[in-house]
Symmetry: D2
Subunit: 115 residues, 4 copies
């Protein structure tokens, strides 16, 4: 049987896959980054065991990605940094998505039994 | 060749399909309806020719759709009302999504040459 | 009141927005292009008034987009060509998505009253 | 530092969240279930550490979900059963989504060190 810590990590992964594939492709410009960050965080925090989510969409990277006349681009992992904390049966899992070697990487950072 | 009015209607349809299929499936609860409404409207307003979008997610319908212990549901067309105004080369197209016979219907309401 | 031809164009746009935002972001490699093309076409053909859809994902463009070690990329408009034919109350609308100036453009090509 | 087994479970969760939120909302009818199953499995198998995916969309449940004249519905977790096997640095994680008490549940079934 999987351990509680393993289940916490599975739950953490589900939230990351959800956040990414639900919102990737959303039209985004510097005028709409703040509302999209808030909606993404609050949406994923609805899911079971998800204690907190922070999403930061980088306005400068959004501007660089807008290379045509329409003034917007589509959200991808390269434009944002995300952290999440999952609490599952007394286990805390902390995860992060950030750029590594030019690609967005989803990372499991810490798995702790809380006190 | 298609007319300007026909092109305006094509653009209006694109925005509706985008809004629906980008955001359907998003985890939603009464705690996150306002931020999701704002993000959806601002995201779609980034698209070409899209002058204004209003999204209203009905908290009561969200509560009714939450029929399990987790306290959230997934966004579908039955939970929201949407209006959009498209401006394309002097043509205004007004569209709406609302419930009809128990199903969400995307409707083209008016196509006008503005003054 | 909108004309039948305008409604046909609105329906055509809905299908294009749906196809794009439902499937953009899907992990894709040269090993999975054929199954994704078929699924996209058959899924959208389910929608009302949608007579036929063709999707061609370009294997060479997919290979060029895979610039990291994982061997896959995410589907975007730059990787595919799409055609659709909508039939609405005797009106035929033909649409296409293809690259123009380095960007994918959704185009309304013809609107005809069939015989 | 997280263990290899915990990382395997995190990766397994990512794939499940991806599969669900990439494809939920896709228009589906009994005529398009087979192509959608194949495309979903092949798409997710592109992702790192994902050894095998099976997707079975239940035609009878699809028919029951089609309760209006259009002849199709939108894909949700209630219409499909999914299994996945993840291989991460010698660890195998087996996962499954199936109905439990009327809701689709994503489950971590086994985590093994392979021989």
């Amino acid at each position: 049987m999987p351990t509680d810590a393993q289940r916490a990590c599975f739950e953490a992964g589900i939230k990351f896959g959800t956040l990414y594939h639900q919102f990737a492709g959303t039209p985004v410009s510097p005028d709409s980054t703040r509302s999209l960050e808030t909606a993404m965080a609050e949406a994923i925090e609805n899911q079971p065991y998800c204690e907190s989510v922070t999403v930061r969409i980088d306005d400068d990277r959004v501007r660089e990605a807008i290379d045509h006349g329409n003034g917007y681009t589509e959200l991808t992992g390269t434009l944002m940094d995300v952290t999440m904390r999952i609490e599952y049966d007394g286990i805390t899992a902390e995860t992060r998505m950030e750029m590594a070697d030019g690609y967005p990487l989803m990372k499991l950072e810490r798995v702790d039994r809380g006190e």
